[in-house]
């Protein structure tokens, strides 16, 4: 595939001219490359099959072969009579179960150690779908992509299925035998040679068990290590207050929010709650035309910053100077503003300070885990100085066990391992061989430990280097507990018995303690019984029903600032042209733990829309200077190490920062993470060091001249705006400033439509062709040949608030889980054949260096005058009486005419047999109420018709009407910010009908008179007039 060379200077020239006034989706669009043009006009690229990647090509052919063979076999099975099906009822019907109806259980998922409350849907004993728990403070009913995807990890056929000793299959009895023998030897000197390495742990039961173990082995040492470490957050609190505290924010009260390199809607332990609270301050409605103001300074674009009113791209090392400047200007004692702020930085700081001062304690300044402790301390001081503490910022005791600096602990552990002091190392989950800092050389140290035990979900890099591997239980398979960001404890209850006979960490710890075997249930229940005493039964019941143990949240505490932390100088900022490397968790595979999850590999990353890979993100300017095109492989030289990585020029990336994402380059742990045993992506952990785990200068970039096929989806399914004349063209995303909105609230509405003379003529003669009652009851200026359907009952519709959509992809993964959407693989994505029913379109506005970003979820618009319905020769896509554009799979013959005729490009075709119908464990995940589509069938968003049907059937059975909120679509349910609202637009009191009556409500491409049922609330942003960077 020969890519066209993009000349960024030409792009810049176009942006400086008229083109700059309009929105753009990618650099390719601005460059007006022939490939982009082709993609807009055609649905699928014509020559995209020529990927050079031999591995994916081979597995693609293999996949083809397999699906062809399967097709042949099904042909043989054809029979006039249907095969005899069996009905297999229960022997004893489980309590509360109605066959055919799902059950919902409250549980929790540990993520980064912190609990996220869940409600899990279970069909006859198999969990199928994960939702957030509305009663849980951390999720409030919302979910993130990892919650959604974790169910696929549980069913992953590549999970470790047995205990192994030196890679030979073994048994639990052999394992406990060997363990007991070793423990008996170690008991003599109090367990001095014993080490426990875990990830961050907040589980009260597990902490109690580990403490018991420490009593039995007083010399044993326990180290916690998470690669996406919150060390700086802890050290920052230590520096500011003298002890480690946990910080909790209340964004709902904030009028000014300043993020200093914090992606708080993704990485904070309370991220879902924060995203929802933040969105509450950004709702621009008729009744309340006001919103908060959000400032961001950061090195690489994040979904959090897509919401920014003023975004400042700076390298991570500049944040220190910005924090000091803000601190000095708001009056934090003992801080002097650093010299050398650039003009842009100065302007940004001045505006920030002005707004912070004006907000009177209703503001938040927050910084990210990658910033050094001193920045965290400065931010604490700023929040104190502004009077935010006690209002928008609260402090509590730490949530995690033994809070400390994890990198120090790990460093000490490796030293001990190397010195031979460690006889027994138990690694409870985690994957240090893969993700420990490279300078520690954990692998070499591990080989020096006589008995190393790895307890984990996969046979991974660490288990390959350990003596014993014990297969772990997934959190959906075990009893446990976990604390959320605010300390709220939840009981983790299993949704299914362990698929592979694994044991929970509690059962493993019990074995270590030499206790008589107890079930995980008894361990967890026993712990809380001891804690709660007489109130236990009631609390336990309520915890299992509601997902939260009552009154377990930490109480806010008073803290006071300590002396002169500000004197601590951060590392000297780099020279202007020196390159800085920044490490970030991957937006899809996170720290690598989701690397074998097909949903996560295929999920397009925000901005780049990169799938099945990671890349080095560089700024467009650097790319121009080094004459780098997307996909060019460069050598990254850093601290004597070098790695080859493909680059992507990313608009908005800080100039001297190169961002690499952790989590790729896994060894062969499964077919997804390494198809045919060859790793995908590059392993950024290879040059991550423990002294600078997040960012550092000293990076050299060299072009190799080779290229790597990066597969992105950002130019697939691009809505064609060129077909309309310039006079009619409206931007797909309509935007105004708050000021403009207040002056003209209907700015997003279509301009009065001017009919051409011929049209006027034809309307006069054919008045019956004029649409009499279009949506909203207004006289339509359009002529239509299509009938107007009456909607006597329900009329389903949706609104999506572009002002609160953060583009987090949760809806995309939720839709995939709910609707049995297959994963197609890198090769097929390259052909533009990804199957997502909902996608997040991102539109840029402005220059390459710091454009505004607008997120727009795009799904079937369920047009009242649907272009797809007209062209189907077999009536497989039809309109229904509730306004749904229904898709009848068993009628579809695969002409794809409907897709050709869809201006929104939301239809997806099964070119091959994408569904894996052979793997048994994956079948268990599928939603039984949604057809599993096979090859040759068109599919698309159905507005979750199965959920509509379930609600309708329940209501009809009881002789009732479906109440507003009675149907929640999968995307709506997942949305952290409640941006998606679904309901009956015939019910004028419904939330969706009221939102459709908002002045900002508009439909995309309504010029085509498609009359979409899905409409959008326009984007409003709130710039500070003092900055003067309005467009």
């Amino acid at each position: 595939m020969s890519k066209e060379i993009i000349k960024l200077q030409d792009v810049r020239a176009r942006l400086a001219g008229d083109r700059g006034k309009r929105q753009w989706r990618s650099i390719e669009e601005l460059a007006e490359t022939a490939e982009f043009d082709e993609l807009v006009r055609r649905e699928f690229p014509s020559q995209a099959g020529e990927l050079r990647d031999p591995v994916t090509r081979r597995s693609f052919l293999k996949m083809m072969g397999a699906s062809l063979a399967l097709a042949g076999l099904t042909g043989c099975e054809y029979n006039v009579a249907q095969p005899q099906e069996k009905i297999v009822p229960y022997v004893r019907l489980p309590e509360g179960l109605i066959p055919g109806k799902p059950l919902f259980f409250a549980t929790a998922m540990p993520f980064q150690g912190y609990g996220l409350g869940l409600v899990v849907e279970q069909h006859e004993g198999r969990p199928t779908k994960i939702e957030g728990n509305p009663d849980h403070p951390a999720t409030m009913g919302a979910s993130n992509v990892w919650m959604q995807a974790s169910i696929l990890t549980m069913y992953d056929p590549d999970r470790s299925k047995s205990i192994s000793y030196n890679k030979q299959e073994s048994t639990w009895e052999n394992f406990t035998g060997a363990l007991t023998q070793s423990l008996n030897q170690l008991r003599g000197n109090g367990g001095a040679g014993m080490r426990l390495l875990t990830e961050t742990i907040t589980s009260p039961t597990l902490i109690a068990q580990i403490q018991q173990l420490q009593q039995a082995f007083p010399q044993m040492q326990w180290v916690q290590y998470d690669p996406i470490s919150r060390d700086n957050v802890r050290a920052g609190a230590q520096l500011a207050f003298g002890n480690i505290v946990n910080t909790i924010y209340d964004f709902s009260q904030a009028r000014t929010i300043v993020s200093l390199d914090s992606d708080f809607m993704v990485t904070e332990p309370g991220h879902l709650r924060y995203a929802r609270q933040f969105a509450q301050t950004r709702l621009v409605r008729k009744s309340n035309p006001a919103m908060s103001r959000f400032y961001v300074a950061e090195s690489t674009p994040t979904i959090t910053s897509t919401q920014a009113d003023h975004r400042l791209p700076v390298s991570s090392s500049r944040i220190d100077a910005l924090a000091r400047a803000i601190a000095a200007q708001v009056g934090v004692g003992g801080v002097t503003a650093g010299e050398g702020l650039s003009d842009a930085e100065n302007r940004w700081v001045t505006a920030v300070v002005q707004d912070l001062k004006a907000s009177g304690g209703a503001s938040i300044v927050i910084t990210g885990e990658q910033q050094p402790p001193v920045v965290h301390a400065l931010v604490h001081a700023i929040n104190q100085q502004l009077g935010n503490v006690g209002k928008t910022v609260q402090y509590t005791n730490p949530i995690e066990a033994n809070p400390g600096i994890q990198f120090d602990g790990l460093r000490q552990l490796v030293t001990d391992m190397n010195s031979g002091a460690v006889q027994l190392l138990l690694m409870l989950e985690g994957n240090p061989v893969y993700n420990a800092p490279a300078d520690l050389n954990f692998t070499a140290a591990l080989k020096k430990v006589p008995l190393s035990i790895h307890y984990g979900l996969f046979n991974d890099e660490t288990s390959a280097n350990s003596t014993w591997h014990v297969n772990a239980s997934h959190y959906l398979e075990m009893w446990s507990d976990v604390r959320a960001f605010d300390g709220t404890a939840s009981v983790i209850q299993p949704l299914i018995a362990p698929l592979y006979g694994s044991r929970s960490p509690h059962e493993l710890l019990d074995a270590l303690l030499g206790q008589p075997p107890r079930s995980g249930y008894d361990v967890v229940r026993g712990y809380w019984q001891g804690q709660l005493g007489t109130t236990f039964e009631q609390a336990w019941e309520s915890a299992l029903r509601n997902g939260v143990l009552p009154n377990t949240a930490q109480q806010p505490q008073q803290v006071s600032l300590q002396g002169n932390f500000a004197a601590q100088q951060a590392a000297a900022p780099a020279a202007n042209d020196a390159l800085e490397i920044a490490f970030r968790p991957d937006p899809s595979v996170w720290d690598g733990s989701y690397a074998n999850n097909g949903w996560m590999q295929e999920l397009p990353n925000p901005f780049t829309k990169l799938t099945w890979d990671n890349a080095a993100y560089v700024s467009p300017k650097r790319a121009q200077d080094l004459s780098l095109q997307e996909g060019d492989v460069v050598t990254l030289n850093y601290k004597g190490q070098s790695i080859e990585a493909p680059v992507i020029p990313l608009p908005g990336q800080a100039d001297n920062t190169v961002t690499v994402h952790l989590g790729y380059g896994r060894q062969n742990i499964g077919v997804i993470s390494a198809p045919d045993g060859v790793q995908i992506g590059f392993n950024a952990y290879q040059f991550r060091t423990s002294d600078a785990p997040w960012f550092n200068t000293g990076l050299q970039v060299q072009k190799t001249g080779r290229r790597h096929d990066l597969v992105t989806t950002r130019n697939n399914y691009v809505i064609d705006q060129q077909v309309y004349s310039a006079a009619e063209r409206r931007e797909i995303v309509r935007v105004a400033t708050l000021d403009e909105y207040q002056k003209n609230p209907t700015f997003a509405q279509p301009e009065p439509h001017r009919l051409t003379e011929e049209q006027v003529e034809s309307t006069e003669h054919n008045t019956n062709m004029v649409d009499p009652v279009p949506q909203g009851g207004k006289e339509s200026p359009y002529v239509s040949l299509l009938p107007n359907y009456p909607y006597p009952g329900y009329a389903w519709g949706m609104t999506i608030d572009l002002n609160t959509c953060i583009g987090c992809n949760a809806c995309v993964t939720a839709c995939q889980a709910e609707n049995n959407i297959p994963v197609v693989g890198k090769q097929q994505v390259a052909l533009g054949r990804e199957m997502f029913w909902i996608r997040i379109d991102q539109y840029y506005h402005g220059d390459l260096e710091n454009p505004k970003v607008y997120n727009q979820p795009m799904l079937c618009q369920h047009c009242e005058h649907a272009p797809c319905e007209l062209v189907c020769p077999v009536a497989a896509t039809v309109h229904d009486a509730e306004g749904l554009n229904a898709m009848v799979y068993n009628r579809c013959v695969g002409t794809k005419y409907c897709s050709n005729n869809c201006p929104y490009k939301v239809r997806r075709f099964n070119f091959l047999q994408y569904q894996d119908e052979a793997t048994q464990s994956l079948k268990l995940q599928r939603n039984p109420n949604v057809t599993v589509r096979s090859r040759g069938v068109m599919e698309k968003c159905t507005y979750c018709v199965q959920r509509i049907a379930a609600a309708r059937q329940d209501a009809e059975r009881l002789g009732q009407e479906i109440q507003d909120g009675g149907i929640i679509t999968a995307c709506q349910q997942a949305c952290p910010t409640n941006a998606i609202v679904f309901g009956n637009i015939n019910d004028k009191g419904s939330q969706v009908a009221q939102l459709k009556a908002e002045p900002t409500n508009y439909g995309v491409l309504t010029e085509l008179n498609t009359q979409p049922r899905t409409t959008y609330l326009a984007r409003v942003w709130n710039p500070n007039p003092a900055v003067g960077e309005t467009e």
Binding site: V80, A81, Q82, Q84, E85, K86, I87, V88, P89, Y90, V91, R92, L93, I98, P99, G100, K101, P790, P792, G793, V878, D880, A881, E882, L884, A886, V888, Y889, N890, N929, V930, T931, T942, V945, Q946, I948, A949, Q953, E956, R957, L958, G959
Partner: protein, 226 residues
Amino acid sequence: MAVETRRTAQVFPRSANTLIWISILASALLFALGIGALYYFTQSGWARGVGQDITQPVPYSHQLHVSGLKIDCRYCHNYVEQSHFANVPATETCMSCHSVIRTNSPNLALVRESWVQDVPIEWNRVHDLPDFVYFNHSSHIAKGVGCSTCHGNIAEMPVVHKVATLQMGWCLDCHRNPEKYVRPKEEIYNTDWRPPPDQIAQGLQLMKEYRIRGSYQLTNCSICHR
């Protein structure tokens, strides 16, 4: 000489012209008949297994239990009013009686074995809809569609068989004109119910009473397919 040559060249007699037309017509007719026969065959009750007794691993008789012992349908199919699935009873349900009645019957050996060994009984499905059809028992019962409308008089069947083809046209017959089939709710489980002479009038009345939507909505694809 020349004439002679011309005569031998005419291999076919004049009547062949007619024969060709007849054979063309006949083959077209045969083709149409073949298609028709194939269509008739696929649509026939025989091809769909109507009337064919499906034997079960346990020789359970609806005739004995329902007509003879007057056990209500819902004693065994107890979630038929709540779920899309009318549920085949758990072994536990059988054992609620058969732990004290006919405890030694050889016919019940499989049930006892299932109970003791905790292994479910595999019953043969009689009414098998395609997987892309999402039928809901509870909705139909709530709207006055009785068991026997689709299943026939089960109470008189020692071995159950289908009485309808369960094809889409058959479903649509009712979805287009529910008044032809709906009955008063108190007659739902009466498997011997016969439509009264004024069924259409009564049906229209019941449709109003039970708020049954008309064919405009009931014939939507999305009602049964998703």
